[in-house]
């Protein structure tokens, strides 16, 4: 188990992540998204749908858009 580390993000909200699952070093700023940025997800199937919902939950100040061609899609 890692140590809980509050991670202050540019957009002002806190994300609590554990030390052993946090992106380390100089990579962090480049790889993480920040408030006001735009995330576009292409595809609304098995991966795209969950990605969109969780992304918005974890990063409420990121603008999340999902794009899909079909109105309906199998989720089995």
């Amino acid at each position: 188990m890692g140590i809980m580390v509050p991670c202050r993000m540019r957009n002002g909200y806190c994300l609590t992540i554990t030390e052993d699952t946090a992106i380390g070093g100089t990579d962090q700023e480049e790889k993480m998204m920040h408030g006001g940025q735009k995330l576009v997800i292409i595809g609304r199937g098995g991966a795209g749908g969950p990605a969109a919902i969780l992304a918005k939950k974890l990063m409420p100040q990121v603008e999340v858009t999902i794009v899909g061609e079909e109105d309906r899609f199998i989720v089995r």
Binding site: C7, M9, L15, I17, T21, A22, I23, G24, Q28, E30, K31, M32, M33, Q37, K38, L39, V40, I41, I42, G43, R44, G45, G46, A47, G48, G49, P50, A51, A52, I53, L54, A55, K56, K57, L58, M59, P60, V62, E63, V64, T65, I66, V67, G68, E69, E70, D71, R72, F73, I74, V75, R76
Partner: protein, 402 residues
């Protein structure tokens, strides 16, 4: 297709995205300008992005045989495909249904159709490999599946290839096999695998692997601002660490969530796939994970298997159903590398998740002999018949005797 569930009940409603605060656009993404970081859509709009998750999915593999475009020949990938097949069933009332491929999509589809209208259909299945569910089960475990499908009237043509699909007046009327024999068909369902939809990935200049967009363990592609997840992303097998085809919903969901977490600051690696899956064929429940013995040998493992039969309830409880477990081990490391279940009861089939976890935990034969399961007379065998530990005991004895 069998009328057992509505399309609405098996699809993610748009409101789900609305409620979550996700902007939901129904259009086709036609182009990605990876330099300007812009996506162009079929409705004329363009979207700027800072990060992108590419989850374009997969398309059915169309085998290179004559007649795949004839009316009455279908592939099943989306709800729209299912609705088209259902419409054909209702309007054309086909009697002879032929499946190309004996994987779980064809077998489950046809078993549900037969269950829904037992006298309406005659089913034929053609499979290149020598038994049903060849990617899930070794031949010995598949024998029970073959028997049950045959009892239900399925005509199984294993080890045969369809050389062409026959049409009459623009509609399908049969298939011709590589031995020259023919099967009558009013509907053909082709399930010969899926291939990742890579059109946008290619256009965006992403590096591709043999089975999809190349990604690292954090699902990051060769472009630092584009992650790929699900069927379009290449996955490595947990045990072999080699790329494998894997178009299942389980890994897609987990990869989608993992990509979101990565962008939110987590560094959790994707462990690789074991391609665990389950299927119901009439009253048989079948599940598998990891490598079959045959695949393991092909991958260079010194593999051997043990099988044991258990029951879904304690012996004193009425209604106990038998189930068979096969575990595959690597002789050199003694690690568990695969598991298969064929059960006449539904409770046993989820034991595959325990086996999956044991593989991911790199457990050995010795570890498994000490496995202690929660038991209950109504939903498991007696502790003395707990099949994972029993199978491991058998493996232990096999090793001593070898």
């Amino acid at each position: 297709m069998a009328g057992l569930a509505t399309v609405q009940s098996i699809t993610n409603p748009s409101e789900m995205f609305d409620k979550a605060g996700v902007a939901n656009i129904s259009a086709r993404a036609t182009a990605i300008d990876a330099v300007s970081k812009i996506v162009r859509l079929s409705d004329g709009r363009s979207l700027r992005y800072d990060k992108m998750i590419l989850s374009t999915g997969a398309r059915p593999f169309v085998p290179p045989i004559e007649g795949t475009d004839v009316r009455g020949v279908f592939f099943l990938r989306t709800a729209n495909d299912a609705m088209k097949i259902r419409e054909h069933l209702e309007t054309e009332r086909p009697r002879n249904l032929v499946g190309i491929g004996a994987g779980f999509i064809n077998l489950e589809t046809f078993s549900l159709l037969v269950e829904s209208k037992p006298e309406a259909y005659k089913i034929g299945i053609v499979e290149v490999l020598d038994h049903p569910l060849p990617l899930m089960l070794d031949a010995e475990m598949a024998a029970g599946v073959t028997q049950r499908l045959s009892e239900k009237g399925f005509a199984l043509r294993m080890g045969r290839r369809v050389s062409r699909i026959l049409g009459r007046n623009g509609s399908v009327c049969g298939v011709e096999l590589d031995d020259g024999s023919r099967m009558e068909a009013d509907l053909v369902l082709i399930s010969a695998g899926a291939k990742p939809d890579l059109e946008l990935a290619v256009q965006a200049g992403l590096k591709l692997g043999r089975f999809g967009v190349q990604v690292n363990e954090f699902l990051e592609s060769s472009n630092p601002d584009i992650l790929a997840a699900g069927d379009c992303a290449e996955k490595v097998h947990y045990l072999t660490r080699r790329p494998v085809p894997s178009q299942l919903r389980g890994p897609a969901v987990i990869q989608g969530r993992l990509a979101a977490k990565r962008l939110a600051g987590y560094a959790i690696p994707f462990p690789g796939v074991l391609n665990n899956c389950a299927v119901r064929l009439f009253d048989l429940y079948v599940a598998a994970t990891g490598l079959t013995e045959k695949c393991a040998r092909a991958e260079g493992f010194d593999a051997f298997s043990v099988r044991t039969v258990s029951r879904t309830k304690h012996g004193m409880i009425a209604g106990a159903k038998p189930w068979t477990l096969q575990l595959v081990f690597d002789r050199r490391s003694q690690r568990l590398i695969g598991g298969q279940i064929v059960s006449e009861g539904e409770t046993a089939v989820k034991e595959i998740d325990a086996i999956n976890a044991l593989i991911l935990g790199n457990k050995t034969i010795g570890d498994l002999t000490t496995l202690i399961s929660a038991g209950h007379p109504d939903c498991s065998s007696e502790p003395s018949l707990e099949p994972i530990a029993i199978a491991a005991e058998n493996a232990l004895q096999r090793l001593r005797g070898s």
